[in-house]
Symmetry: C2
Subunit: 462 residues, 2 copies
């Protein structure tokens, strides 16, 4: 016979409280398995509560399996084991702390204060007003058609590429698309990466249980002979803007690379075209993909570097053969970019904001580079260094003539609150060959910051 | 000696046109490798164009590697091979067509017309106004802290779960998080899935080169004995709302499953809690995770099903041990959800809109279900069917007593323009046992639509 004190329920509704009392009795074994419970009517009468309350409590217990019923016979305790109880205390929150520097010469993010926020807000508000239907429906797995069309036009106008939107896949970040790509090409392959190069790629390979090989670079980019000997059949390169040196792969080397790919079926080149927009040249260098007559180039780019890191829109262009394979094997992957941001980007591009932003940033980075290079040339350090790759976009290299090791300088700078990266840190093999080369990312740097960093560097080197 | 007709440049700038002329001469071999080019001055004089124009053209050709220079000796044609030319014609666009039905009983998407669009717009506009800083900066790899905090509170209030935001990972879609999870747990494992069950999961396993085993279910859910014999050490279940039957796993079975996990180290249960919000019961069934004392349950849920499919925000709760592993091995994966949507969701939850939306939808689905069940009970079909799992949320099952096969009925319905799914279609083994069970998703169904589908079904069955 169940008897509960229903007067003190600390805020819980009668039905909730009754539910918990019975549940706990069953959990604690005070009500045994298969034991018959009082009829709803009797329990209600006994506690002088409404029948409905008891019905609700029994219904819930039934639903969760604490009770079961037998035809025309009533409610019985189900099979449960004691010892489990629902924990009740709240959770403790504390965010993960971030490493702090006074000045960061290693940060190559876009200059946020130059992001055309008001225009971005404008198109977003517009999208909210006029696109309700599109915003609520799922976009195609490869991304909103309108955005793919805009991207195709952009690639045609600025990268000399001629691609159908049907071969474009939009995803939330290059890492995500890269994951898809590894699935698409297969894990058993051997992947080749530039050394020095973009190390995150190898982290992705590692996380995907994929094996890779480092291929050295010379002043023209990746060494094709070394690549040919490596046995790799996929290579990741950034011909428009090598990371982190910033060099452009000349047409001759591009052709050699394309020939390497053509030599055997199923060889592919992944062209990572990130940041190529920011070259300080009269016209952009056409993408390697535009020279690809054998459909071996997979083109990748994103808007995170050109607009803001928080905008997670990347895209890749697949050769038709791979696109067909993608549709057959992976079209069940929903697009990872929200409809809202995709249509905002459509408006942003259609209104010409994107193009103007790129142009504005080019000028901005150029003048920033000029002022920073000027500071360098005026500094007493000049005799100890040479400036390389000044046209790279938002960073350049400082070749230092000093007996100190890269790590000694990095350490001393860290103590002065300045974060610097050396080219050798992006090297896996023969770091020596690439030593004493400091990378200056100035996209987020003020003249004062750089002046400060320069003084510290002088103190260390002179 | 280069001589070009620079009068007819169809719209191109002089420098651009000159650049192309020389580039093509080099590509076509009219200018041989290592052949010396005329000095800039001479070329300018000869064509009576400005020196600056020639300089720009040479600069570009140099940059792209068509030319190289020798100290104090001038410009020479670089090493390129003929045969490549940049394609020029525009691209053809046509979107991929979608399969069309007049009525779709298989669509279990949220009812879009019930989405609180104005409230969503309101919070979005607010976020645009007050959150500029957060919107432009990168969010932590596991998602914005504020959103994880809101989710933790929600899970505590409605799912009986007590988790720190530090164990929550936000991603663009459950598929994406599932991919991360497979990397985290390892591909060499054997994964177990419910049969019948959510088939997309096995597609994800396939795409990730992971092997899995189907485990049968009975009226209480997955068969734990069969699971124990299978050799699997990870199991994917939806105890709060089995797909597609809609059954709830009773507490006894949950305990058995938790014990199975505890038996051996490194066994895990993936609790897919999708849609559990929409139960027609007085209070939500607590998540299995809330009973997990051994840290073996990985909890997954998303907002796409509860709000709109276009909102790609999913999340998972990891046991501390796995969270540590994630941080050590995968924190370089940037969060795939845009900062903007994350903060919009924060506002949406903080203002209580989300909670109210869930409540509103529950009532809406309930009344919709009632009216549709009423239509059924009035129909002449009633003698041929029984209704099951009426409380599942936004669908129920129709057990049909008919000699016709599921595929015969499905085909006949398709010809009538009605898409229906049968439970057997979600079965891999012993389809027979689950045959003749039609799934009615009514979340997007009008009474008229259902009336129409009902008439067709009558014509087929009677």
């Amino acid at each position: 016979m169940l008897t509960y004190d229903l007067s003190n329920r600390d805020g819980k509704t009668m039905y909730e409280y009754l539910y918990e009392c019975i549940r706990d009795d069953i959990m604690q074994g005070r009500i045994k398995e298969n034991e018959k419970l009082p009829s709803k009517r009797m329990l209600a009468k006994q506690h002088s509560i409404s029948l409905k309350t008891v019905e609700n409590a029994y219904e819930q217990l039934l639903l969760e399996g604490y009770l079961y019923t037998r035809e025309r016979s009533g409610y019985y305790a189900g099979a449960v084991e004691a010892g489990y109880e629902i924990k009740e205390s709240g959770a403790i929150y504390e965010p993960i702390p971030q490493e702090e520097y006074r000045i960061n010469l290693a940060n190559n993010q876009a200059a946020l204060d130059k992001f055309p926020y008001s225009q971005w807000v404008k198109v977003m508000r517009e999208v909210l007003t006029v696109r309700e239907r599109e915003l609520l429906n799922t976009v195609p797995f490869q991304g909103a058609y309108e955005l793919r069309k805009e991207i195709a036009n952009y690639l045609y106008d600025f990268r000399g590429m001629q691609v159908s939107p049907d071969r474009i896949i939009i995803g939330a970040g290059t890492e995500y698309l890269y994951g898809r790509l590894i699935h698409l090409l297969g894990r058993e392959r051997l992947y080749a990466v530039e050394d020095p190069g973009y190390q995150k790629i190898t982290k992705l390979y590692a996380a995907n249980d994929v094996s890779w090989k480092y291929i050295g670079i010379d002043e023209n980019g990746i060494k094709v002979d070394e690549l040919a000997e490596s046995g790799a059949n996929v290579v990741h390169v950034s011909p428009g803007h090598h990371f982190p040196t910033g060099t452009i792969m000349p047409v001759g080397r591009r052709q050699k690379l394309l020939e390497w790919a053509a030599e055997e079926r199923d060889r592919y080149i992944i062209e990572d075209d990130y940041d190529s927009e920011f070259r300080f040249v009269k016209r952009p260098v056409p993408a390697m993909q535009s020279m690809d007559v054998n459909h071996r180039v997979i083109y990748m780019n994103n808007f995170s570097k050109t607009l803001a890191p928080s905008i997670r829109i990347s895209y890749m262009v697949l050769p038709q053969k791979l696109m067909d394979r993608y549709i057959n094997t992976m079209n069940f992957y929903s697009c990872t970019v929200s409809a809202f941001e995709q249509y905002a980007m459509v408006e942003f591009m259609q209104k010409g904001y994107f193009e103007r932003h790129i142009q504005r940033m080019k000028n901005y980075y150029k003048s920033k580079r000029d002022s920073i290079v000027k500071l360098l040339q005026e500094s007493r350090l000049m005799e100890l260094l040479t400036i390389e790759e000044k046209d790279a976009g938002n960073h350049f290299l400082l070749k230092l003539h000093t007996p100190l090791s890269d790590m000694q300088i990095k350490g001393a700078m860290r103590e002065a609150g300045v974060k610097v990266d050396f080219l050798s840190e992006f090297c896996m093999q023969n770091k020596e060959e690439h030593s004493h080369t400091l990378i200056v990312n100035y996209s987020n740097l003020t003249e004062e910051d750089f002046q400060y960093a320069l003084r510290r560097l002088e103190e260390i080197l002179l």
